[in-house]
Amino acid sequence: MDSDGELLVRLRSGDERAFVSLVERYTDPMLRLASSFVPSRAVAEEVVQDTWLALLRGIDGFEGRSSLKTWLFRILVNQARTTGTREHRSVPVADTEPAVDPSRFNAAGGWADPPERWMMSGEDRKLIRACIDGLPERQREVVVLRDVEGLSSEEVCAVLGISEVNQRVLLHRGRSRLRQLFEDEFGAAR
């Protein structure tokens, strides 16, 4: 498989097949990322198309300081934020919310209502997606980039334009909340 760098060189010289190779390599993760920002698949496809067009227009300015994937994701996040309407559905959440509902601890801070063992009966990938979609916007962005797309914390900071500490706080809140949602779905009957 050709490296991103080789494909970019060929794309700059006007090779359509290089563009198609990049499209086949990156459109799936871009669609998934876009879908976490905007309300429908149709809008996600528009955002992804706009991102590819932005790539073509900006290709001479790409200096390779970040990976192509990080660069594409950063363009996409900016496109999605200007297009996105999903965020209006979610209420802003304070970054100080606890990882676990305080009512589950006793006065001394020990578990009163401990975490339930999960009963996984085959994984429901749609349900997992629905749980992720239920996260507040900023937490969802970080969780999707880190844990779905597998970016490093440095790459997530570059894509979203946030500090490392902020990234870690959002990741913590997002993963903690997601654990609770999975417990609600997969935990033994409460």
């Binding site: 799936d28 676990v100 975490p115 992720i132 914390s153 913590h172």
Partner: protein, 86 residues
């Protein structure tokens, strides 16, 4: 019975350290306190295991697929862009 020292973590504090622990961002002393707590607390051990499982499950979220239609649209987009360039 061992007396609770003020340096000992309680569960409610331990769950707030899980991400920093997994990210390798706890200072050495903090990490020792956290691990000492896990050693005596099956519930927090379960909680940490669930956080790891959460990360694994998240990675298996339903993917989106590039449809042939969209692929064709993107090739059209490229050709239009290229025609406009020249």
């Amino acid at each position: 019975m061992r007396l609770l020292r003020t340096r000992d973590l309680v569960c409610q504090q331990a769950v707030e350290l899980v991400t920093d622990y997994l990210e390798g961002r706890l200072r050495k002393a903090e990490r020792r306190r956290f691990e000492a707590h896990l050693a005596v607390c099956p519930h927090c051990t379960e909680y940490l295991a669930q956080l790891r499982e959460t990360i694994t499950l998240t990675g298996r979220a339903e993917p989106e697929d590039l449809t042939p239609q969209m692929r064709d649209d993107l090739v059209q987009l490229y050709r239009q862009w290229k025609a406009g360039e020249q």
